[in-house]
Symmetry: C3
Subunit: 412 residues, 3 copies
């Protein structure tokens, strides 16, 4: 039939399965250190379809059966409809992950390490992430990409009035040659109106708390070592600045984020947080990572010599990263009680080394080492245990640990 020729059904994929085994150690440093569990976890296990129909319409539906720490029942990861008839713009509605920053421009199957930098992951969770419902305008050229998304809640996450958010991103390549490029970009992630946790009744209105927190950069165990706790808020604004560089087999990228929370019905000072990271990759076998102009991010190199019966080596790559996430606001000195309005969320620094092997374009093995250092003062109260276990206000509740982890991934 003639109509069939207009459909572009790209296989039955994408399907990705990540399989991790992480070994946590050195957890004894701080007396109150939490016991992170060894184990294995399916991070993502996806099935779905995508394609084009009727010339100008794109569709995508993708279900995920993986999870963080514990695998979850299958849920909607993305399901959207896109109209691309007005070039270079595309209009999209449904559930999809908005492009929240430089490292989010790299797809979930193409990450350099097992997880994104902690601060980038935290910002991604504000108004983006997989399964975010929203409406978007997207566009890109050879040297630029732009995106504006009005987003709502995540699917399977709705009780009272839903969250409204905004995600914007703009990237540009000021320099581009055959072997090299320079990337600059800016991103904005806002929670305009946080999700309500109570009925909206005058005069107090609905409680709309936000909570900023993040795991170390692995998800076999779900413990979060830095956490602001709930802050009743009118909104959150994150601004990010991106800088990237590539020369042949070497890529370097860095981002800094400024995060401001606006309190609701409160005379206390509005707290502000932040974080940054720098990461680099170098391909031992010489292939260059590919810059994706549509998403403004680095994708892995193509495998020119697939490993098979000893004929090729595949691609071997090494990577390093330093990331910092600071969720303290007026934290004060050790041993003292927090001042009014202070947030003792903690400061987390992670140094990571990675070795990646791509035997072919579908299979990847990642091995990561992380050195995690968390510096955090107890706000007092029972946040870290009740009764005799309660650490007094101002006690150090941070902990240092090493993490070794590997990932086996199959995607097509």
């Amino acid at each position: 039939q003639l109509d069939a020729a207009r459909f572009d059904q790209r296989s039955a994929g994408p399907v990705a399965t990540d399989f991790r085994r992480g070994s946590f150690g050195d957890a004894a440093e701080a007396e109150r250190a939490r016991d992170l569990a060894d184990g294995a976890n399916f991070r993502r296990a996806r099935i779905g379809v995508e394609g084009k129909a009727w010339g100008d319409w794109n569709y995508n539906i993708l279900f995920d059966f993986g999870g963080s720490g514990i695998e979850e029942a299958g849920k909607i990861s993305s399901a959207y409809l896109e109209y691309a008839g007005l070039k270079p713009l595309r209009f999209r509605v449904g559930a999809f992950p908005p492009n929240t920053g430089f490292d989010d421009g790299t797809g979930v199957n193409n990450l350099l390490f097992l997880e994104r930098p902690a601060v980038a992951e935290l910002v991604r969770g504000l108004a983006g992430a997989d399964g975010r419902v929203g409406a978007a305008v997207l566009g890109n050229g050879d040297r630029w990409s732009a995106q504006l998304v009005v987003s709502g809640n995540l699917v399977t996450n709705q009780t009272y009035d839903e969250q409204t958010g905004l995600v914007g991103r703009l990237t540009y390549l000021p320099y581009k040659s055959k072997d090299s490029l320079v990337h600059v970009g800016g991103n904005l992630n806002m929670i305009i109106s946080p999700a309500a946790t109570t009925v909206d009744v005058a005069p107090a209105g609905a409680t709309t708390p936000v909570r900023l927190r993040e795991r170390p950069e692995v998800r076999v165990d779900v413990t979060r070592l830095v956490d602001t706790g709930s802050i009743d808020a009118d909104g959150v604004t994150s601004m990010g600045l991106e800088l990237g560089f590539q020369h042949k087999a070497l890529t370097v990228q860095a981002e800094n984020f400024w995060i401001d929370v606006e309190r609701r019905n409160s005379l206390l000072a509005d707290p502000s947080f932040g974080g940054w990271y720098i990461q680099g990759a170098w391909t031992l076998t010489g292939e260059a990572r590919r810059y994706n102009t549509a998403t403004g991010g680095f994708d892995p190199p193509r495998v020119d010599n697939p490993f098979s019966r000893g004929k090729g080596l595949g691609v071997w790559e090494i990577a390093a990263r330093f990331s910092e996430l600071d969720l303290n606001y007026r934290a004060g000195a050790g041993g003292t009680a927090p001042v009014a309005g202070a947030v003792r969320g903690g400061e987390q620094q992670i140094f990571s080394l990675g070795l990646n092997w791509y035997p072919n374009n579908n299979v990847r093995f990642l091995a990561d080492y992380q050195r995690v250092e968390v510096d955090r003062l107890s706000p007092g109260g029972t946040a870290f245990g009740a009764g005799a276990l309660t650490p007094p206000a101002g006690a150090q509740v941070g902990q240092d640990l090493n993490i070794w982890s590997i990932r086996t991934q199959y995607a097509f």
Copy 2:
């Protein structure tokens, strides 16, 4: 291979994704009015396969990841095996939605409004609905369709002894010409033995309650405004009468339902309820809706001029509906306590207007307006709040509201 030619594997679909955003308003009229939450919701997100094998065998397996109000983890929507070797009959066993009435003859991806009329949806839930396990005999000719189903519980819904139900439907076209037709039909939906909620121990036997209740005709919020509460029952019988008419681009259909509940171990009178609706559609662009002889219902028109780069308009359609659902039995006058055996489930009237755009045969946009009026007396007690909030017996607990909603749908 020769065998392969006998398989008719229709793509990997059907896959349908509905995306809604509803705005609820005017909820302040009644003091006890419930606060329905604004939001978006994936109503259906499906993936599966269907096909023919070995000539006479049809199979279908379909999983749904959507839900009402809150998206659910993926579950079985239908999974059945059908033997069609004895024409015109088909024998089916497994999970599938029995055809419970005129509006159920229209498939879930083809509905005229976002949801079916409240009374039709309520009757559909007795012994039918997606994921109902059962065995069926089906048949149809050019002018008739017939169906008899013995059904059990819904999948994922089983504790003690399961429900046994019966669904029968018979339709006929007394008049049929090139441009016009008249449809008459009758349907029967019975709960023969309601699902038990306790162990079956003599002499009292197992408690087998039924509860009739329904949402306004949108499901972004799950609140039900009419509700009989639990009635310990031996069975429920619903009889429906169907009438339909089509002339070119105009279709009109109406149904009336009589619903009787037989109490268990009780001297109180057996309550009876009812409801009806009438709805019409007119295609602005002139295409005619298609009558489906296999299911005895109206499907949307085929899109002859798909919308693409401004060449075609697609199909534009307007629709109107009035529906009533009466769950009162001997409700009595306002301000009085209910008499023995009375059921104050409430009476709901909804007037709906719809505008539908079909840019092509896969994509649909629906915009609906509803005026909902609920008249309901409090049975007293704590059904509507405890302590000082308790409305006294006989107080008005109904509420009026307007609903605007849109749906984006992709299906193939």
Copy 3:
């Protein structure tokens, strides 16, 4: 593209749906007999993909939406990556069911009865079963198969430190002719380190309980009639001996298991349990079951004359089985309290008859009759009811019952 020719994507399957309706009776014999619920249940409803890529790599991803007694939300059934470049060995990592014994060598869509023998199912659950995460080395020739698996937890089943297990199996055909064969084999299933249910804090360490229990050989109702209760343990070891025989349309297979539990931090004697079964099948229409050399088990016969419009009969098969599972350890005499270290898990004997119809290679109907006899003494306490309902220590809490069940299955 040339690469595409190297992919062997076997349809979108396998998809299997089982539909059962079981009628339980004779439950009144013992006063404390539990009321098993009649009903229907989707045992398995699966969707997924499998295939080969890049010559030496196999992949498989399969999701299951069925369950035992109550259908479950979709979850990962298997998802693995396999390297087969070093013949005759294959290396596999991910989630998959390790081959735990003779009856596990028969695939889930090919079982002779609705369920495996109770003892085989219990042993399969130790360190195997669907959704088990692990790493394996597999190999086979024309007359032998071998397998070694280091396994962890099931997916969606992780809290504290995960279980570590080991599964090994070795099979051989000492005699093989055109019409006949003799199978011998041995299998080892170990829990090396049971999953922790508490934090691992010195000096007591984490509690690591194991619990051996099993349903009658049908799963419409989830009640388990034999059950050891939780035993805090350092590990479990099961050894199995397999014996099989085929001559044309007749197959017979038998297995015996020795199960030892090693208590943790206890001076009590380590309990040991056991079980065995023998089952046979005879094809009325004469076709022979097929021996699968890769998995070391019997698969159903191929259907040479498919049933269609009365031309063929398909394959008709009868089967019989006796199985015993003994979870008693020093149970003592009736009417007495248990001695220290005794385990009154009960002894279950099941005699089964089956009639199977395979109208074609995709569709199966199974009808089973079971006579279940459970002999079990109450350990006292409140395990079987509180207050006046408590059976005194040493009372008979077993029960006898008959089960009739049918399965409708479609798989490809």
